[in-house]
Amino acid sequence: MDAEILKKNESSLAGEKISPESPFAKKIAKTTRIKEALIKYFFAVNGVMALVFIILIFIFLFKEGFKALEHIGLLEFLFRSQGSAGGAVQKIYEWYPTSSDPKYSLIPLITGTLVISLPATIISTIFGVAAGVYLSEVANPKAKEFLKPVIELFAGIPTVVLGFVMLVIGATFFNDLLNPANRLNAFIAALGLSFVIVPVIASLSEDALHSIPDDLRMAAYGLGATKWQTISRVILPAAFSGVSASIILGFGRAIGETMIVLMASGNAANLTFNVFKSVRTMTATIAAEMGEVSHGSDHYYALFFIGIVLFTITFILNLIAEIIINKMRKKNRFS
């Protein structure tokens, strides 16, 4: 179709009538067709590249990571059973991959990840949903036009900068204020993470709230509801799935974030649920140890195995959020 239009345009530009059967017209038609095809393939290659790379990364990660199961064993990634002097068997949850008797328990790393990402998600949910509600329901269009890009700009701050700010300013401030057990701790890292996740939750929940049809608002006002009653009893429940999807995506981002936790959490592989103690996340472990690990060692494969665990967690979280968002879209379309 397009080729025909092009052909017509070109011939009219030339200013003379050429019948489509003439050799000249055929020649133009052929070159345009080839050009069109090439352009089409160029864009297609670029589009498909993303898929190809994801699959390649996926294959590489699983190929390297599953060697860990051969070399180390699944149970070793949970705990090490050690007979103590009394004869009782003790379970040891420790991450000492370079020791002469290496221990590879991922439990302190997984609890470390949760001790940081759960508070970060809670903090960000409070501020993020509130910001989303303000942008969608309260703010006048001018304020919204200005504030939305500003909030989204927060997500664009390099995480290493946020990590540095938390390390130098945040940690000192909270150390003087709360006198925590460790100066660098999970709470500091969670606060730093919130700067990245609030924009994610705010922006996505604003979209979800915005997509609620105006009929609902009008109906609520018509029944005599106040603005707050409309938001809390009508709009938020109606957008519940979309808002929860935004929170899940924010949680996924919190688990996958590396630089802030690497700099601000102190990275001690403590098995603790105290947010004021130093903890170590899975991402920080990979980032800190991959640089100097010798290739092909058990430690190397163990780090890839952590990668698989992380990949699986974030993949599942993103999948859930995607399903919820899709369902919401369909529902809103027919309502």
Binding site: V45, N175, R183, L184, A288, E292, S294
Partner: protein
């Protein structure tokens, strides 16, 4: 669009992308003389630096440096898969015998020294500790500064990532072994910081903190206090850094300051000419300058 063209589309895409991947492959460097260096992870960065500098001067030579640990390097030297082995310890007797039995005549070259400073906050009243006290602190047996004569504050440990050479060196030389002969481990509450700079930053701001790192780096810093260390409680304590912030090379060379060690390169005596020239470069003033730059201790003059 016809259905049949989808298949040809996919084929063309695959073809194009495979060409891109082929294009990414490196050209071989077969025409260059290759020297392989393998061993200690502590020395990988230093060795890499030497190699870069040497290759800049001698573009016809390619030096390939890999880590893996001192033991791996020496094993590779013994079975002939590397030209030079980096080691942060002397060769063990077992390894010497193995070399003899396979008819190798290995030469030891001292190439640099490695010294670690123990640092605390300047507000901490403690100024000297014994190796045994340091071991108790970093294994988590001593948990309060009061037990060492300081303030009544919990001790917060700062260390390096477990794949760094500094981590291993401090573990072997300071933490020592328990009564069953097993290597002591750092307490799991030890906070891990990225690099010596971040560690210095954290200790400087934390009155409860204690950490360790290369002497050459901390000598310059005014915001941390470098502890004097003594072998045992009857011997004299020495600080690796003088009052003016200069590194006390004599104390480290004479081993009076206890947390230091020599770094070695091992090579076969029939090493090819290019390899010998590289070893000569390492001990030359230029090579030793790079040692200082990398915050290690140069060889005694």
């Amino acid at each position: 669009m016809k259905k049949g063209t989808i298949l040809s589309d996919i084929l063309i895409i695959l073809l194009v992308s495979s060409f891109i991947f082929i294009g990414c492959r490196k050209k071989s460097e077969a025409e260059k003389a290759v020297i392989t260096v393998k061993g200690s992870d502590t020395m990988v960065n230093l060795s890499q630096r030497w190699a870069e500098e040497y290759m800049k001067k001698n573009p016809s030579i390619s030096i390939q440096v890999t880590g893996g640990g001192s033991g791996t390097g020496i094993a590779a030297l013994l079975n002939g898969t590397t030209d030079i082995a980096n080691a942060s310890r002397e060769m063990k007797d077992v390894e010497m015998e193995k070399a003899k039995s396979s008819g190798l005549n290995l030469e030891q070259h001292k190439v640099a020294l490695d010294g670690l400073a123990v640092i605390v906050s300047p507000e901490n009243p403690i100024s000297e500790l014994t190796i045994a006290q340091l071991s108790d602190i970093f294994t988590g047996k001593t948990t309060n500064w009061k037990e060492l004569g300081g303030k009544n504050l919990p001790i917060v440990l700062y260390g390096r990532e477990n794949s760094s050479g500094t981590y291993e060196f401090f573990k072997e030389h300071v933490l020592g072994k328990d009564k069953n002969g097993n290597q002591n481990e750092y307490a799991s509450s030890t906070q891990v910081l990225q690099g010596t700079a971040a560690l210095g930053e954290a200790v400087a701001r934390d009155i409860k903190g204690i950490g360790y790192g290369g002497v050459g780096y901390f000598a310059q810093r005014k915001d941390v206090k470098i502890l004097s260390v003594k072998e045992n409680k009857d011997s004299q304590a020495y600080s690796p850094v003088g009052d003016g912030g200069q590194v006390m090379y004599e104390l480290i060379w004479s081993k009076k300051y206890p947390i230091s060690r020599y770094l070695y390169c091992y090579a076969n005596s029939n090493l090819k000419r290019e390899g010998k020239a590289f070893l000569d470069f390492i001990v030359s003033p230029d090579g030793q300058n790079l040692v200082k730059q990398m915050e290690y201790i140069p060889l005694p003059k």
